[in-house]
């Protein structure tokens, strides 16, 4: 047994060694690029591969990490290239200033397209990026006074510092190496985890406190930025740019590159780019028939999506994982502590005259109840009584028709789901919503990263707390396994750990007993009692009367969208209206 800090230190050392090896490899590549005199043809191919790879890594971020599509990467690439080309040739500006301006323009376009489109969903983004690509091509060809039209821009200058093809190539390799390193690190940062969470399950991402819209737009803007960077490098390297180099077909080439190599990793981007630049050079004869070449790309895209969805690198990684098996760490972890924010009032949740109507249907009609600090409160009712609607209104998935919701003295009625989470609401789902491509640990870390969680957000503290939370639900020794390898009951426990790790003010549990067998139900009951013992306020919604009567101190009963009883557990369960609602009245029994 070792302490958490030791394990963390060991993994940090491993990472540091990895980084050193990486720097050494890049140094060798830079040395080779800077000192070897290739002939012009080879230099051009290498230059193209390196600059394209930078742009393709943008797609790794947006498509691989965040699950959003961008079919205008060639347009962003072209914007960067034209910024450097026109700036240095027509306006006599320095290369670096042009590059900087180009990146600003590209970032602005990326952010604009992202914010205007992303909230509408993937299909729109695909079509809008194609449209943007087409408009930009039209502008490049037709706005002759500024862009030089179809002739393009020639005699583009390299920066003074890297004036020879070799030194410039070496410079590009360094840029690629830095970009590659950042993209490689991104998935294990807070932003990267948010992107993966959004890709895996948007709804769950929202209720764990992630701003979905902002995460997607950020991913898209980063992608555009890398496209522009690659384009700027490209312009300096080739000294000539023209509109046909940045057409829609090139966007498809970029897409094919990232898909072929593997969308999940910058290594995939490099593999895909390298292959798709080299293979066509070997198969030059294909270019003699116009169209054949792109037709093969189109076919390749379909075949990759059908048969190799993770690309070449994804395939390699999977073989490795099979060989290596799973790695286990055991450490002495501190007991999970729940930090409560300064108590404002005795009432944690106040629901006032809440109503939700769907057209004429009053799913929830004028409901009021109060959840006291430190209590376990249950909301029950037969099917169709409005429980789930109430829960969806409370967590912000539906906007209420009327009424107000207060959490810890703050009016949250009109908050978006992630804003409610930030103000202290944690929840689980009846049908489990975990981020399926991540490990149990990573899922819980996202919970710890809840905005407003009053704990240390340093990486080691995040991981330690997440491991403690998994220990608390009894899954500490399996923290590094993918969530998909857990049983249904255990997945529910991970979901609870994710919510609890965020130190919510109020924990909402949506039918936690649904789908569990009797042993699992007893474990769940004990877990809930242990959570309650730590002073966390819980609102539980369930059908399981045994569970509810065992854990809840206070019960609110709904039927047909209205509150029919509210009070301490024993008196509510004996209330005649409640008995009628669940068992039917004598009058009904007579039929």
């Amino acid at each position: 047994m070792s302490s958490m800090i030791d394990i963390y230190r060991a993994s940090a050392q491993r990472k540091q060694r990895g980084l050193l090896a990486y720097i050494a490899l890049i140094a060798v590549l830079v040395y080779v690029a800077a000192t070897t005199t290739f002939d012009g043809y080879v230099t051009n191919i290498l230059m193209q591969a390196v600059t394209y790879a930078v742009a393709v890594m943008g797609l790794t971020v947006v498509l691989g990490l965040c699950g959003q599509i961008n079919l205008a990467q060639a347009a962003f690439f072209g914007l960067g290239a034209y910024a450097v080309g026109l700036g240095t040739v027509d306006y006599g500006l320095s290369y670096w200033i042009c590059m900087g301006l180009g990146l600003i323009v590209v970032f602005a376009f990326g952010a604009f397209l992202g914010t205007s489109t992303i909230r509408l969903g993937g299909h729109y983004l695909a079509m809008v990026t194609i449209s943007f690509q087409q408009i930009l091509t039209l502008v490049m060809i037709n706005w002759i006074p500024v862009t030089h039209g179809p002739d393009g821009v020639s005699r583009i200058l390299k920066p003074n510092l890297f004036n020879t093809p070799q030194s410039y190539l070496a410079f590009c390799v360094v840029v690629l190496a830095v970009v590659g390193y950042l993209v490689w690190q991104l998935p294990s940062t807070k932003l990267g985890r948010a992107m993966r969470a959004v890709r895996d399950n948007e709804l769950a991402a929202g209720v764990t406190g992630i701003d979905i819209q902002r995460t997607k737009v950020t991913a898209f803007a980063i992608c555009a930025l890398l496209g522009g960077l690659g384009g700027g490098l490209f312009a300096g390297g080739f000294s000539y740019v023209s509109p046909d180099q940045f057409s829609f077909a090139e966007s498809i080439v970029f897409l094919t590159m990232v898909l072929l190599g593997g969308v999940a990793s910058p290594i995939g981007a490099v593999i895909g780019t390298g292959l798709l630049i080299l293979i066509p050079e070997w198969l030059r004869f294909l270019k003699s028939i116009p169209g054949l070449y792109l037709a093969i790309y189109g076919l390749a895209v379909i075949l990759i999506v059908l048969f190799m969805p993770d690309g070449i690198w994804g395939f390699v990684v999977q073989q490795f994982k099979k060989l290596r098996g799973s790695l286990r760490l055991s450490a002495e972890l501190p007991e999970l502590t729940l930090v409560q924010t300064q108590a404002h009032a005795d009432d944690v949740l106040v629901v006032n005259n809440l109503a939700k109507h769907f057209g004429g249907l009053k799913a929830v009609d004028d409901i009021s109840f109060v959840v006291k600090r430190g209590s376990v409160h249950a909301l029950i009712g037969p099917n169709g009584s409005g429980k789930t609607t109430t829960l969806n209104v409370l967590s912000g998935l539906y906007t209420p028709t009327a009424g107000a919701v207060q959490l810890d003295g703050q009016d949250i009625t009109h908050f978006a789901p992630h804003e409610r989470t930030a103000s202290g609401l944690g929840r689980t789902f009846q049908n489990i919503r975990l981020f399926r491509s991540m490990t149990a640990l990573e899922n819980v870390i996202i919970g710890v990263e809840r905005p407003g969680n009053p704990v240390d957000h340093a990486p080691i503290a995040l991981e330690g707390r997440a491991r403690s939370a998994l220990n608390f639900v009894g899954l500490g020794d399996r923290a590094d396994e993918l969530v998909t390898s857990f049983s249904y009951g255990h997945q529910r426990l991970i979901e609870i750990a994710r919510a609890v790790a965020g130190n919510p003010t109020l924990l909402l549990l949506d039918e936690p007993a649904a789908g569990l067998n009797s042993t699992e139900k007893m474990e769940l009951r004990d877990l809930l009692k242990r959570i309650a013992a730590k002073g966390l306020t819980i609102l539980i919604i369930d059908h399981d009367m045994t569970l509810v009567s065992e854990v809840a101190e206070h019960i609110t009963v709904l039927n047909f969208g209205r509150r029919i009883a509210d009070g301490d557990a024993v008196s509510v369960l004996n209330h005649p209206d409640v008995v009628t609602a669940y068992l039917g009245s004598d009058a009904n029994a007579a039929h």
């Binding site: 993937g122 079509m127 037709n142 169209g291 792109l294 379909i302």
Partner: protein, 291 residues
Amino acid sequence: MDMVFQLLFQGIGIGSVYALVALGFVLIFRATNVVNFAQGEFSMVAAFLMVIFSVDLEWPYWISFLLSLGGMAIYGALFNLGVYFPLRHRTYLPVIISTIGASILVSNSTLALYGPQPQVLQPLLDFPGFNIGTVYLDAQYLLIIGLTVVLVAFQYWFFEHTLLGKKLQATSQDKEMASLLGIPVATMIMLTFVYSAMIGGLAGILVAPILFVSIHMGGTIALKAFAATIIGGFGDVAGAIIGGLALGVIETFGAAYVSVPYKDGFAFLVLVAFLVFRPQGIFGERVAEKA
């Protein structure tokens, strides 16, 4: 004023073509929840089939026309089997990418076979057109508008008053429930693709004598049809038709009064304007909120 009527006539004519392709878009979207990015190639392939039958083989025009539509039915079925069906249980992203791949594959195979030279197709009718006052009504445009009206009427009747139409509607609304009721969902989706390919193909054949037959016609038409569906309200059949007509008119006026080289850009400007200010389109409900 006559100029305005003349442009309006042409705009509605070209808009009818967009409307037909948009209709095919919407039908596939409703049945599969997937946007088919190779929709424009339905029009292109049909136009090339027409060139093969009527120009290369010199078969009679009407026989070529029917054979081309038949060919599109087969093409739609193959498209479904190769591009959509194997991916039907995956998320929308792989399917989008696969349809984009199909679009690139089909248009560039055509380029490899036929070369970049645009092909010329004769109008369906020998009769050129006539004047009403100073407004010239071209027969091909009249034919397009007429056939669009007939087809829309037919489709309304088909979906609302036939059992097969009801089954298709049930499939598009709830696949699981439809299959529990004994509706063969896979066959219904297949039929949707076949029908969609045929109306897209019809649009392609009708517009070919006006635009020339080239491998680029598919991409241009598809983007405009998509813009039309957003203008009308995504997934809405009436919206697709109104949106298509509106776009045709806007584009024709834009080309006449603003700029010819940017003619194809107007559609995208209108599209972006709608996305920013009214993303639900003219008829649609709010798209962003889905719990």
